[in-house]
Amino acid sequence: MSDSISLAEICISASSKAWEGEGEILATGIGLIPRIAAGLAKLTHNPDLMMTDGETYLISEPVPMGKRDTTHDQVEGYMSYSRVFENLWGGKRHAMVTPTQIDSFGQTNISAIGDYNSPKVQLLGVRGFPGNFINHKNSIFIPSHSLKTFIKGNVDMVSGMGYQNKELSNGKFEIKLVVSNLGVFDFNGKNNNLQLLSLHPGVSVDDVVKNTGFNVMIKSDELTPMPSEEELIFIREVLDPQGIRNSIFGE
């Protein structure tokens, strides 16, 4: 089994560590890899996590990717959008999200690229980023680590705040983990500098440096830990039996 481990599976396993030791909070993984990763966290090291069915209900077991028979969902509670807002204003949540841009401060952008008044590319809008980042911990997954995603200078439209404004958040702001297609990072370098924690197979420190638009410190250039046999079984047989994860990197 282990010689055919995919990059998506490595990223899922690494991302699931975002929720390690987080206790009984709402875990929100937005997008393919973060969602499977949150489910993996709940099935392995943090069974206390709360999680939704992707819509309005809290469920006891993470829902698998793809079409399913929802009559088997064990609903245990209610989580309308209004309730999500109330929850996040109180800080009992950890989301993993995929911004279009991130900068050296950890500021993130999902709103617009280019001149704000007539954007080159209009994206979603800031959505919940300002509230999420100032109220609770977040982690980041970026599938295409490049100078366009890890950008030099400030992101074009600051949607999620960064470390230089940490004191505005009453102690709540933290980007716990950054997982990309190249490696695993956090912002715990000196002065909250982005730092490399591990490299995915076949990736060099030089690849990371060349594709990051700002200074990245190298805490470790070890190989990212491979998913365990248990994790692989959960990913392949429980969380994503249809293999939808493989579309993210075209594997």
Binding site: D53, G54, E55, T56, Y57, K67, R68, T70, Y78, S80, Y81, S82, F85, L88, W89, S111, A112, Y116, N117, S118, P119, K120, V121, Q122, L123, L124, G125, V126, R127, G128, F129, P130, G131, F133, I134, N135, M157, V158, S159, G160, M161, G162, N165, L168, S169, N170
Partner: protein, 289 residues
């Protein structure tokens, strides 16, 4: 008491430059039949407040919006809204871009008849720099913390789509998530409802039905009977969103005339027939995420 109105009655009560709040969320439970009616009217220069989906896009495509107050515009399964993107990229509309929770807070302030509600949300972001009208306020207590004073989003009119209503405006949203429709109704001077079904009060289900009554009838000015009125957005539990239609609509951003002549400038009944009929719409499965 009878608040039943026609499409024309609703549009007749709207005027140029009004601030209009639209209920629903993204591609879910949008009052689309009323939006199409506005698109084919002479109304212009509207300020729109919305958790945006094809309501915003369609109004953009018809050049009805002067200013958009929003947290996002998305078709859910199709993340980016093509018509809204065009309007923004061509600098056709003014925007007040807010966090989703700030929109809620602004509506809540209006609903509570307050000038603002304080929040940390927005601090440290370009929501503040791109909206210089947003002011800070200082906590009067020992912490003296600087917070955003999110101004009330007072609406002239709210437009909402619901599952059921009686003639008096006793409405029911039966889908599991009522979104922020209640706050839109409370923030508005007048609220017009389009409803899948109009039934007698005795058919509302008594105590069991009353839990779906998300705001009181005194907030409702007019009730429009509009079966399938949310199409192409979803109206749980009645029907899901019409992904094929949303794709066609989305692709129409390249040249809108074909879409317009096919689906607009029709009565709602004609529109429903054009998109396949009410039976077909009722069979569209609810989306799974």
């Amino acid at each position: 008491m009878n608040k039943i109105v026609s499409y024309k009655d609703v549009v007749d009560q709207l005027s140029d430059g009004m601030i209009i709040g639209i209920g629903g969320w993204g591609a879910r439970r949008k009052p689309m039949s009323l939006i199409r009616e506005i698109c084919q009217s002479d109304l212009k220069d509207l300020t729109v407040v919305s958790y945006g989906g094809p309501d915003v896009g369609l109004l953009c495509a018809h050049k009805k919006i002067k200013k958009l107050i929003f947290g996002f515009v998305s078709l859910d399964m199709i993340p980016l809204e093509a018509h809204f993107r065009l309007a923004r990229q061509n600098n056709e509309i003014d925007v007040m871009e807010l966090d989703e929770g700030m929109v809620q807070w602004g509506l809540r302030a209006a609903a509570m008849n307050l000038p603002f509600l304080p929040t940390r949300v927005g601090l440290g972001t370009d929501v503040l720099t791109s909206n210089p009208e947003l002011k800070l306020t200082k906590s009067p207590y020992a912490d003296a913390e600087e917070l955003v004073a999110m101004p009330a989003l007072n609406l002239d009119v709210a437009l909402l789509h619901v599952n059921k209503s009686d003639e008096k405006g006793n409405t029911q949203i039966i889908g599991p998530d009522p979104f922020f429709d209640e706050l839109f109704a409370r923030a508005a001077k007048k609220t017009f409802i389009s409803s899948e079904e109009v039934v007698s009060t005795s058919e509302l289900g008594g105590k069991d039905g009353a839990i779906f009554n998300r705001f009181e009838r005194s907030l409702v000015t007019g009730v429009l009977h509009s079966p399938c009125g949310a199409h192409p957005t979803s109206c749980a539990p009645n029907y899901g969103f019409d992904l094929n239609h949303l794709k066609e609509y989305s692709d129409a951003a390249k040249s809108f005339d074909d879409y317009r002549s096919k689906y607009l400038n029709k009565t709602h009944e004609e529109y429903v027939d054009t998109v396949g009929g009410s039976e077909a719409i009722q069979k569209i499965p609810l989306p799974q995420f």
